[in-house]
């Protein structure tokens, strides 16, 4: 029983190392992908795309585009439904998605 446990723990160690390697490679790939200038230009959605993801579709959909590290704080609803946004690296862009 000791022998088989020893083998299984070592196999799990190898499986975990393989996962660590795949995760760090995937993080790098995603970073390169999203930072590629051509992909940045083509990385957009349309208003109707957003509408198709909310249910029911005729809701108010507010879009927030913020600089990196913008802090969003959502208060406890017992104090009211409140969202505050605070940026330190540039203005925040907020607009409503038109219905049609």
């Amino acid at each position: 029983r000791y022998k088989s446990l020893q083998k299984e723990v070592s196999d799990l160690g190898e499986a975990e190392e393989k996962l660590d390697e795949l995760i760090s490679k995937s993080n790098l790939q995603l970073k390169l992908l999203t930072e590629d200038p051509q992909n940045k230009k083509l990385g957009y959605v349309m208003c109707q795309d957003l509408r198709s993801t909310v249910n029911p579709p005729e809701q108010i959909v507010m879009v927030v585009r913020a600089p990196p590290e913008t802090q969003m704080q959502v208060s406890d609803p017992s104090e009211g439904y409140q969202i505050s946004l605070k940026s330190s690296r540039g203005p925040i862009d907020v607009f409503l998605c038109p219905e049609d």
């Binding site: 000791y2 446990l5 020893q6 299984e8 723990v9 196999d11 799990l12 160690g13 499986a15 975990e16 393989k18 996962l19 660590d20 795949l22 995760i23 490679k25 995937s26 993080n27 790939q29 995603l30 992908l33 999203t34 992909n39 940045k40 083509l42 990385g43 957009y44 959605v45 349309m46 208003c47 795309d49 957003l50 198709s52 993801t53 909310v54 809701q59 108010i60 959909v61 507010m62 879009v63 927030v64 585009r65 913020a66 969003m72 959502v74 609803p77 009211g80 439904y81 409140q82 969202i83 505050s84 946004l85 605070k86 940026s87 330190s88 203005p91 925040i92 862009d93 907020v94 998605c97």
Partner: protein, 152 residues
């Protein structure tokens, strides 16, 4: 017996960590596929229409959306430099980030819910490096659960 006990604890600990890392890898794979599919779709549309869409009709990543009922009254205060916003709603709202929106748009080929047609699976596998293909195949049938996936 004591050493078996210790190994058993270590085995459990490694299984827990592997499970957490598999869901992290799964999310990275979904994000990679969703973003590539979005770029592919937009490229095809622009080639068909032979021009990019009007600038004020597109929303570039990264973004988040806040959606709420049409009846909701939203009180909004904005600082002059637009560095600070304060929103007060009189009703509930939901917040989603761009990757969640892409998944809901179907850009992740249904892998996020483990419902992926054979054609979509083929597309999804073509969008990831070879080493990740076995994981995509696992995700198509549910989430990654097999601890020892034989990589390529």
């Amino acid at each position: 017996a004591q050493e078996c006990q210790n190994l058993e604890v270590e085995r459990q600990r490694r299984l827990e960590r592997i499970k957490q890392k598999q869901s992290q890898l799964q999310e990275l794979i979904l994000q990679q596929i969703a973003f590539k599919k979005l770029v592919q779709r937009n490229r095809q549309v622009e080639q068909q229409t032979k021009r990019p869409p009007p600038p004020n009709s597109v929303i570039h990543l990264p973004f988040i959306i806040v959606n709420t009922s049409k009846k909701t009254v939203i009180d909004c205060s904005i600082s002059n430099d637009k560095f600070e916003y304060l929103f007060n709603f009189d009703n509930m709202f939901e917040i989603h980030d761009d990757i969640e929106v892409l998944k809901r748009m179907g850009m992740a080929c249904g892998l996020e819910v483990g419902k992926c047609s054979p054609e979509d699976l083929k597309i999804a596998r073509s969008l990831v490096p070879k080493a990740l293909e076995p994981y995509v195949t696992e995700m198509a049938q549910g989430s990654i659960s097999n601890v020892y996936i034989s990589g390529v």
